[in-house]
């Protein structure tokens, strides 16, 4: 079991030992990056086909079922199609910026994976400020969106970019604030140590952050803000095809479009991986008697579950309007994340309570506080602000 858990780490060490000494550093780097890119590129391919199939079933359709058995070769066909399509650049476009934009999106998206712990001892770089690195690199995707929208010389592209940047900046606030609670509780920005902090078991149950009142609400807030940060439905306004064609992707075709597409899915994967790491215990098993099973299996099992949740939400919720989007971020998510911080602090300091049933009292108080804030904010936002409609020209 121990071997199976560490099989990838051992394989890497074995391979590096076979490489002559002067090239060992290069082999170490390549053997970390290569599998990462392979695994998540295949995750991208699998997610596209699973998503299309699941969305089809949600709408009582079959989904793609023509290419290969059950349509399973569809991603291959899509990729091939993208590769052989003509790469059109508008005559008035800023050619250099137009070319650089997809790379400016994809490269940071790949970089974010370098700090995520995929299993025990399976982090590419264990940075002391890993969480900060994740958000710093993630923030630079806004610039790629701007470059794409501005360089296209297309009003829809520019509008899409403006929307995208406004949305990303707004939702970065609740996204980061919801993770601050975890940082406060663990006392570290290093992602492996955040996972280690959740790896204990109490009565066979894991001590994941999601099983605390602040962790549960923080996780939900993180997923919502993360979906918006990754331009994921229902927050895919920058690409709202019913309003602004394809947003900042309007003037992209062929392989550049594929790169953008991949960059967005990679952003979603990174957010998912981060959510798992922060709140769902990373690679730890959900029950103590399974703790000896391979850690990477649990990471990817949770990963698949969260991706499925995102697909489910995409198939359910219609797209927001721009003002609803902003209102939701600033008037609902940000206050709730701030309340969540207070609850996290309460949970942290009430950890010294010793009387019997203290855990229930802490839970009730914490959940009551955050729940009260939720209901109050929900009521305040839900008041009917519409006056009775007057038809000026009807009578």
């Amino acid at each position: 079991m121990e071997t199976l858990d560490q099989i990838f780490v051992l394989a890497k060490h074995w391979l590096v030992a076979r490489v002559p000494e002067p090239l060992a550093w290069l082999a170490t780097i390549l053997l970390s990056i290569g599998p990462l890119i392979t695994v998540f590129a295949s995750c991208f391919a699998i997610t596209t086909i699973v998503e299309r199939k699941a969305l089809g079933r949600i709408q009582n359709r079959f989904g793609p079922n023509r290419v290969g058995p059950f349509g399973l070769l569809q991603p291959l066909a899509d990729g091939l199609k993208m590769l052989i399509k003509e790469d059109l650049v508008p005559a008035q476009a800023d050619k250099v910026v137009h070319l650089l934009a997809p790379f400016a999106l994809v490269v940071p998206a790949w970089l974010t994976f370098s700090v995520l712990p995929f299993g025990r001892n399976m982090t590419v770089i264990d940075l002391d400020a890993g969480l900060l690195f994740f958000f710093a690199v993630g923030a630079s995707s806004e610039l790629a969106v701007f470059m794409a929208g501005w360089s296209s010389r297309n009003k829809y592209a520019l509008m899409g970019a403006m929307r995208g940047i406004a949305q990303m900046i707004s939702y970065e606030v609740p996204l980061v604030l919801s993770t601050v609670a975890v940082v406060m509780s663990v006392g570290s920005l290093s992602l492996p140590s955040i996972v280690e902090a959740q790896s204990a078991y109490v009565f066979g149950m894991p001590t994941w952050h999601v099983f605390t009142p602040w962790g549960l609400s923080g996780f939900i807030l993180f997923l919502i803000a993360g979906a918006a940060e990754a331009n994921r439905a229902p927050f895919d306004l920058p690409e709202a095809e019913s309003e602004i064609i394809a947003g900042y992707l309007t003037e992209y075709s062929g392989f550049k479009y594929a790169l953008f597409f991949m960059g967005e899915y990679l952003g979603l994967f990174a957010i998912t991986g981060m959510g798992i790491t922060l709140f769902l215990g990373g690679w730890t098993a959900p029950v103590s008697f399974l703790a000896t099973t391979p850690s990477w299996f649990w990471f990817f099992a949770k990963f698949g579950a969260i991706i499925a949740l995102f697909i489910w939400v995409r198939g359910t919720v219609p797209r927001l309007r721009m003002d609803q989007l902003m209102k939701f971020a600033w008037k609902f998510l940000v206050p709730l994340t701030l309340v969540n911080l207070v609850v996290a602090a309460f949970w942290h300091f009430s950890g010294t309570w010793q009387f019997p049933g203290a855990i229930f009292a802490r839970w009730l108080l914490g959940a009551g506080f955050i729940g009260g804030a939720y209901v109050t904010l929900g009521r305040a936002l839900h008041t009917n602000q519409f006056p009775p409609r007057v038809y000026a020209y009807a009578e």
């Binding site: 923030a139 570290s188 007057v390």
Partner: protein
């Protein structure tokens, strides 16, 4: 004094990228290109910090400057004037410019060179002293008053920005909005994007309680 060959090649590369992009940011014709070059300069600075083992400062530099300030700059360029316009400099004389440049550069370099911390520079590389936890502890204990003062200033700036953005335009202020306006403003309320999206009048004014 160290020789040029002692300086690691990584630093030379980072410095070259930073300086070239900084020069581009000053000299390119298109303002948006200048802004994007400035982003590259910020990234180069962040790389320098990382190279000096200051992880936190480096990432904070990327997060704040690339993630926020750069966006602010390009938005400002886009929203204020035509990006193609190039302004003529105040003085055409290159001699005056050179003099000013030397004066500014000298006044910046002089304190750096005479700084006592330069003499403390050890030959061996610095241990990563700037750990996040220590930064946090220092900020929350030793430097808590400057931190709070900064927070106050920033909050004041933000409130000021909101007040300026929400100022009622007397010409556009319609005391009795038409049904169409009522419908729009009802849904928009005070959201920041609402003002940008909604072309109808009295977006913010009619929302005030």
């Amino acid at each position: 004094m160290r020789m040029l060959s002692d300086i690691p090649i990584a630093f030379l590369m980072i410095a070259a990228v930073t300086l070239v992009s900084a020069v581009c940011a000053m000299s390119l014709r298109n303002l948006v290109h200048c802004g994007l070059c400035l982003v590259l300069t910020f990234v180069g600075l962040a790389a320098t910090y990382l190279h000096l083992s200051a992880e936190f400062v480096g990432f904070a530099q990327v997060l704040v400057y690339v993630g926020a300030v750069a966006i602010l700059i390009v938005f400002t360029i886009l929203l204020t004037r035509n990006a193609e316009v190039t302004l003529s400099p105040v003085s055409q004389s290159s001699l005056v410019g050179l003099g000013i440049a030397i004066a500014v550069c000298g006044s910046l370099v002089l304190p750096l060179v005479t700084s006592p911390s330069l003499r403390r520079l050890p030959a061996q590389s610095l241990a990563p002293d700037a750990q996040v936890q220590r930064i946090g502890e220092k900020l929350m204990a030793q430097y808590v008053i400057p931190l709070e003062a900064l927070a106050l200033v920033l909050t004041a700036a933000m409130i000021g920005a909101v007040v300026i953005a929400m100022r009622d335009d007397p010409e556009r202020n319609d005391p009795s909005p038409s049904p169409q306006n009522q419908k729009d403003t009802g849904s928009v309320s005070n959201s920041p994007a609402g003002t940008a999206l909604n072309s109808s009048s009295s977006t913010s004014s009619s929302q005030r309680p």
